[in-house]
């Protein structure tokens, strides 16, 4: 279908849909007047029932932990898909191509600024990950922040150190362990006769770092998995450019 015909069809039917949408949206309650019951119930009871001051993370890792389990396995499967599509096969014959030389280093100013940034990022990442149940943050955000540390290292040093960190087998093992330990923490209450993903650990005192039972633990597992997942994706995309080996046609 020609492009102009496609756009004209889209504008016609899109216009009809937009009119129907506006006709339906007129009956919605006005913006800013949330009336539903569940948000208010959670706001009232989350701190007392789970000893977690962050209601959003309490919902994510406890009240609706099953959805987050599905989301973690979506992440795992997508990284699996990326690796299957783009990874170089073992033993395939390769041709050497141009690559960034191992000794190539950026200017001293950039490296001097990036080194303290590494320290600050690591500390910040661990802080966000461990305080998931107390303040905004949690496992996923910490995972992405920590995954940027090898990239900063790549800016500071050369490609060799980046390659050695991200192509290590430990990254794959950590990712699998992160996803599996979430599932295992969910399955453990079944041994005690409780439903799946029950918060069965002692809840501790509100405001402590080691409070709210399995929420902190699940948050840590998710953080480990997300860090490893993003590092794997970054290395899979960059593998050819860093090593300079392209598979023969």
């Amino acid at each position: 279908m020609r492009e102009s015909l496609r756009i004209r069809l889209f504008l016609i039917f899109g216009g009809i849909f937009l009119l129907l949408y506006c006709y339906a949206a007129v009956d919605l309650p006005p913006w800013g007047s949330y009336r539903g019951p569940y948000g208010d119930v959670i706001s009232r009871v989350a701190v007392y029932e789970r000893h977690a001051t962050d209601a959003v993370n309490a919902i994510n890792y406890d009240y609706r932990a099953f959805d987050t389990l599905g989301e973690e396995f979506i992440l795992f499967t997508a990284v699996l898909g990326v690796m299957m599509l783009l990874r170089r096969e073992e033993g395939a014959s390769t041709q050497d191509a141009d690559k960034v030389s191992d000794d190539y280093r950026l200017s001293d100013t950039v490296r001097a600024t990036a080194m303290p940034a590494i320290v600050a990022t690591v500390v910040f990442g661990f802080y966000i990950g461990l305080h998931g149940q107390l303040t905004p943050g949690g496992g996923f955000q910490a995972g992405v922040v920590l995954a940027s540390v090898p990239l900063l290292l790549y800016v500071c040093e050369n490609t060799e150190s980046f390659r050695r960190i991200t192509s290590h087998t430990a990254v794959e093992i950590l990712e699998a362990m992160g996803a599996a330990s979430y599932a295992l923490i969910g399955l453990a209450p079944l041994l005690f006769g409780l439903p799946l993903l029950t918060n069965f650990l002692p809840l501790g005192q509100t405001g402590d770092v080691f409070s709210s039972g399995t929420i902190a633990l699940i948050s840590a597992c998710v953080g480990v998995e997300v860090t490893a997942a993003f590092l794997l994706v970054a290395y899979t995309y960059l593998e050819e450019i860093i090593t300079g080996h392209i598979p023969e046609e």
């Binding site: 006005p30 706001s43 001051t53 989301e71 979506i74 898909g81």
Partner: protein, 118 residues
């Protein structure tokens, strides 16, 4: 008749949805269409946000306010967190497919990649 201000998030969500869809349809580069898909997904954030907002409500973090105070809806925010993660992951997988298509066919234009070759 409700004021346009009362429905603003819902209208902006519809506008973003149609912008993303228009970009997807009229795209000439596969990576451009993947980014337009990300814009399309972000329209749902605005919609969910508009549903859960309450004027004068505080953030649902009780580290420094007393529980039971009027807050905005935390359930919808939990849904949005999952949504953001899924967007990142879907874009990663789609980009891997785009890179592979470029390797096999040598082109990234969706018009030229139309027929499926076994």
């Amino acid at each position: 008749m409700p004021h346009a201000l009362h429905l603003l998030p819902f209208l902006v969500a519809a506008w973003l949805f149609f912008c993303g869809l228009y970009g997807l349809i009229s795209s000439r580069h596969l990576v451009h269409s993947v980014i337009c898909l990300a814009i399309l997904q972000s329209s749902t954030y605005i919609l969910l946000l508009g549903i859960g907002y309450r004027v004068g409500g505080a953030a649902p973090i009780f580290a420094d306010i007393a529980p039971g105070k009027i807050t905005v809806d935390p359930v919808v925010q939990a849904l949005m967190l999952t949504d953001v993660v899924v967007e990142a992951v879907v874009v990663a997988l789609l980009l891997a497919m785009v890179v592979k298509a470029h390797e096999k066919a040598g082109t990234v234009s969706p018009d030229e990649l139309r027929t499926l070759r076994g």
